[in-house]
Symmetry: C2
Subunit: 360 residues, 2 copies
């Protein structure tokens, strides 16, 4: 087992990465404040891992709430099911809430923990690659609104993250690829050596070699922790983690939440950001090709959905959290490993790019 | 105009108290970050003061959302109306949200501001006495759940509080009294000199003498600010502000939100806490009589609703935020001006008191 620390002063917390961590009560115990535990999971993950976790936590008074699986359920209404479960069981402010599932469960349980009785203890147990390398670390929590992704949420750090690599054994191939999108992202925005390692190890990752997967998770978490430590509330450099996300969120909202997986939308968005950076004359052609090539090798989309128009992109991106003073800000690339957040680019080139990308 | 400061490091903010502050753009300007302003009000207050505020803010791009008035609308569903308004108008993270109304509007707009795009700028313009002396200061925000008061919320400080005493001219007498409940509370828990001043000035307060009202607001805010500065997240002494609130929240939930005003429920709750403290042998009879006497002079209830049973109280209080390790913690009184938070009292006396209070 490897343990990293996210260093945020009195809100610092460990990320444990390894095999069969779900059975190790000693990893969870220091982070649970009273007997009360509420486990939030979904109807895909609960049948696989809930019993294991319950028996690990048999010394506690465990309650569970099992939500429907899918991004389309990441809503205020579903959030309320968590509050209902907590209140029906009279759970109090000393409660510890545990997310057992992928990014959707982590985001919803984390947001619920941040606002139940104005904040209770929270632990992340991510069971998808995407959640293990990205969403479970850093304290971003949220639900979607019909008009925009992650529009309602909070910054709320967990007390502990348990990334049990064994849970990836049951992950559908499509979800594995979706997770690789965020892994590739770290290489593209700030870690060229890791990008090169990914080029060499993509086949082993897709084959779920556990040693290779473990290293990819650890290095991804380390990259994420370094960024979050410097800019917890995204006033500056943390925004670089949104490479591909402005395009990606528009894709997810336009197609209907859950039709494209988040990682798939981010993959297409990163490819678009790379191509736009190239067209602006910022990114060498070879770097663009390597980025798009690696995304494709991870069995991820590199183009937006055929059904989306340029106008739809513009409309949906106008409400993105990266908008300032009426200008959409994008994360773009100056080179492989060198990303910038900017609204300062040639609008004509951007429009032409968007029109051609959408085939409109 | 008087200005107090709530000293919370880089989240410090001013409370301005005075006449006709709604027309003074210079008080708001320093706390608005971009052109975008969303004013949240209700259908009672908006017809009275929204136009004034809009013309004060004519240099900004102001959007408004007018909610239904009443505690029964302090819900996740109503909260969503604020998000709808913000997203339909494509308002971004540089938005400033302004609450124009009483405690319900302040609590909802504050919670909405805390989670819209994970947190936007927030200003409180309280227009009821209760909001001016209590709920607009200190950063507690929340909505109700059918199973409990203020169960879903956040600690989120405003950038500025504008307590315009002129807005109290239109306040119904019942709402004025409800506000006086929280004013009296400061005297009871920590400020005996203020309690004595209130005994001397209750008639002038009920007659809305603006100088006397102004002083009561200022001294209440000063008491609240001192407490919040020492214990922002209610890990200790801030809980003393909940005198009467554990009983009070049970009353509000049992009767249906909005049937009893919050201040009325707190008034009955404070009277109950005083009587319980007396029965436990902690509070002298004379102090209890002075407390209940002053509450009655403010035209507030001093008994729980006749419809409530002791069993109903016990059931509803079991989910209160003041519960720890299965024991309900109450704010009780050792003397006038000396409150304690405790679960350590004679359970038999408590049960007898509750049974007799409820006439069951």
């Amino acid at each position: 087992m490897k343990t990293l620390t996210v260093d945020l002063g009195n809100r610092s917390y460990p990320i444990h990465i390894g095999q069969h961590l779900l059975t190790q009560v000693a990893l969870l115990q220091p982070h649970i404040v009273s007997k009360q535990v509420l486990i939030v999971s979904n109807d895909t993950v609960a049948p696989l891992y809930l019993d294991t976790l319950l028996s690990t936590l048999s010394a506690y008074d465990c309650y569970t709430v099992v939500l429907k699986d899918g991004e389309q359920y990441k809503s205020l209404d579903t959030l309320n099911e968590i509050f209902d479960a907590a209140l029906n069981n009279k759970l109090n402010r000393q409660l510890t809430m545990i997310a057992l599932g992928g990014g959707v469960i982590g985001d919803m349980a984390g947001f619920a923990a941040s606002c139940y009785q104005r904040g209770v203890n929270f632990i992340q147990i991510p069971t998808t690659l995407l959640a293990q390398v990205d969403s479970s670390v850093g304290g971003k929590t949220a639900v979607n609104h019909p008009l925009g992704k992650n529009m309602i949420g909070a910054f709320y750090q967990p007390r502990c993250v348990l990334a049990d690599i064994s849970t990836l054994d049951t992950l559908p191939a499509r979800e594995l690829s979706a997770g690789l999108a965020e892994v590739i992202k770290y290489g593209v925005i700030r870690d060229v050596a890791f990008f090169e390692w990914l080029e060499q190890n993509m086949d082993a990752l897709l084959a779920r070699n556990s040693e290779v997967l473990g290293y990819a998770i650890e290095r991804s978490c380390r990259n994420k922790a370094e960024i979050v430590e410097q800019d917890e509330h995204e006033r500056g450099m943390r925004a670089l983690l949104n490479l591909g996300h402005t395009f990606g969120h528009a894709i997810e909202t336009a197609c209907g939440y859950g039709v494209w997986l988040h990682g798939e939308a981010v993959a297409a968005g990163m490819s678009m950001a790379a191509e736009l950076s190239y067209r602006l004359g910022w990114l060498p052609a070879n770097d663009m090709q390597r980025i798009i090539g690696l995304i494709a090798r991870a069995k991820l989309p590199v183009k937006p959905p055929a059904t989306m128009s340029a106008a739809q992109f513009m409309d949906l991106m106008a409400v993105d959290k990266k908008v300032e003073d009426g200008k959409v800000r994008f994360v773009l690339l100056k080179a492989l490993g060198d990303a910038v957040t900017t609204a300062d680019f040639d609008a004509a080139i951007f429009e032409q790019f968007l029109n051609e990308s959408c085939g409109a």
